[in-house]
Symmetry: C2
Subunit: 391 residues, 2 copies
């Protein structure tokens, strides 16, 4: 069979040459190159360019951009002056003012309508976000029926390694995205499958099912995945959502509990989210009593109304929600975990929420990190929250 | 709950503004705009550019590129002079010689290491490649154990609508990619889930499971999805494949038949592939006797050895394979479908294969289309082949 393999190789060479001639540009240069000392070199072939820059979150402390220098054959290059600490980083090139992806790097991620390249510096936490030689769970994109929203909706579901071949039942973790996301956000930008695979393999997290729905009820699915035009959260679209995420959450719960082998009690259900999803997690856990023993609110005020102090209705709405929190406290739960970065634009409303929660003796746990409203923090929060679940 | 939604909107505006300032560029222009008459306008904001072009397969008969004209605010624009026929088209922009994606179009697809934008002109066959308001199957990325290759390998599996909630068993269609592909190729470029959802909803194809493995045995998964560096098919990498696709195919068969509710007989198994995958389909169906009643060889010579007439060993290897074909013919099958485009660079070897098959009275069916070794043809072949299965 070696023969056939040789022919396949020959065919590949022919086919790629053909394809390149037909449409795509080829690139043989290495970018980014991660050196042993964890400095990184970026390269772009752009013989006609006047100015080439790289923009990315690894340049956090710099002006956010660095200039590449032109070398032989029109290949531009930039090497970070210092080693980078272990992390997952995103970047783009800017060629004469025009933002573009790195054609040499196949690793990309979509954040709503923006696509950027990514790379990972090994170590802690980078290794947790990488594919390692450990058993891998399954990631399924499915559609569930939402009678409340009167439509089929797309959902991403992670089942842990071994799920399919066991008769075991599993706990379920509902993980909600922010305003600028969809049912692909946590799996792509949040590296949920990597993090769960690795935490489970290390014995740090229990095997669990992770359910990642679409929190924008005006859309049935991520852009391009639905038969309707995608409506940005800012509105202006023709279609109003029939109901809110909280009002329709019961449909998701019902779908999961009738389609998966799950443990159907409070001790085996968790809900968490980031930003808008954090507000959803707080609202859902208060609204569905005796349903969740674990709640995570990442980079968002649990009392959402405290975000807009200019709103005349806010005080009344706040007190209404505080009553729900009191009922939630009385019903009991295992963990109510609030996490926020100290430069987050929602930081003050998170602090205000906790002040109000203190007044009613609400039993939350607070974790404060550096930096702000960014995926770097949300991946870390997930990595810290998941190990505390279902203990 | 309207209140919470309003706040989510406000939060989204804040968050996106923040994100844009932090890293990503924003774009409010519409591109591509598909007009009612099916002409298409492309737009790119590039105030500093000297020359902006669009390259794409919709310019098939043209030089393959068209120039955009600069208008107000540095927004460049090009409208196709003629309406486009219904199809899925890929394109990129070229800004001063530098290829880049359209920042206004979230629809993208990866072809190995190249990412391009796509759009669909409605009609036939475009509607078949679109998400319609029909029941949707599930697409799962899983890992199976390959004792032959001594590793876990990634695989994409489509289960038809209703699979999860029935006790029914289903037929299985193994669908193999080409040299320049991986386990994501058929689902992304081939639009398999869309095509199957739509064909099943129209009653044109039977509900079936579609299994899309990775045909490069030197890799465990698509680029970025494995813990090893990705080795292009051209070789040069450190790792030789332990065994070929044909030799290790039994592991996939075993995995599918022990993990899914499937019909386990010849009448309910199909295998097809494009290019290298077509050669795999021919080799696998010959090698596993009485296993497949349906075989599809797209844009590839079923007798792979006829591709390289300069190879001294080819005549002997050809006769060896012809003996296997004779055994396959004797064992019987329902459909052996060969499809090729008349400008395909493998056209002559396909013709040569059929000549040799005629000589032994091998009972194939041939479908000739226009054009060549392109995804447009492979999507059409899939749409024509799937309805013939399991009848």
């Amino acid at each position: 069979m070696k023969r056939l393999m040789m022919m396949a190789l020959a065919l590949f060479v022919m086919a790629t040459t053909f394809a390149q001639q037909a449409l795509w540009g080829g690139s043989q240069i290495v970018s980014p190159e991660i050196h042993d000392d964890h400095t990184v070199t970026f390269r772009l072939r752009a013989p006609k360019a006047v100015k080439v820059e790289v923009a990315g979150d690894f340049l956090y402390d710099a002006p956010g951009k660095a200039r590449l220098k032109e070398g032989e054959g029109g290949v531009w290059e930039y090497t970070t002056p210092e080693p980078l600490v272990s992390e997952l980083y995103n970047y783009s090139f800017i060629v004469d003012g025009q933002r573009m992806n790195d054609p040499s790097n196949v690793a990309m991620v979509r954040d709503v309508a923006s696509v950027t390249n990514l790379f990972i510096i090994p170590g802690d936490p980078g290794d947790l976000y990488s594919v390692n030689d450990v058993p891998h769970g399954t990631v399924a994109r499915r559609w569930y029926d939402s009678p409340t929203l009167k439509e089929q909706r797309r959902i991403t579901i992670y089942t842990p390694p071994g799920y399919e071949n066991s008769k075991q039942t599993y706990p379920v973790f509902y993980l909600l995205h922010g305003s600028g996301g969809d049912e692909e956000a946590w799996i792509a930008l949040g590296r949920t499958a990597r993090i769960m695979d690795n935490l489970i393999a290390q014995g740090k997290a229990k095997p669990m099912i992770v359910v990642m729905p679409n929190g924008h009820t005006q859309n049935a699915a991520a852009p391009g995945e639905s038969d309707r035009d995608y409506l940005p959260a800012m509105g202006g679209g023709a279609r109003q959502a029939v109901a809110s995420m909280e009002d329709s959450f019961g449909d998701i719960l019902k779908f999961v509990e009738s389609n998966y082998r799950v443990k159907k009690d409070k001790a085996n259900r968790a809900v968490a989210g980031l930003s808008m999803g954090g507000m959803h997690a707080a609202a859902i856990s208060a609204r569905y009593p005796k349903t969740f023993d674990y709640v995570g609110v990442f980079s968002a005020p649990p009392i959402a109304t405290l975000m807009r102090r200019d709103n005349a209705d806010a005080p009344r709405a706040t007190e209404e929600f505080v009553k729900k929190l009191q009922a939630q406290q009385k019903n009991g739960f295992n963990l109510y975990w609030i996490a926020c970065g100290d430069t987050d634009f929602l930081y003050q409303s998170v602090i205000d929420s906790m002040k109000r929660m203190d007044e009613i003796g609400f039993n939350y746990t607070y974790h404060e990190s550096g930096e702000g409203h960014i995926w770097k923090n949300w991946r870390i929060y997930l990595s810290e929250f998941a190990p505390m679940l279902f203990r």
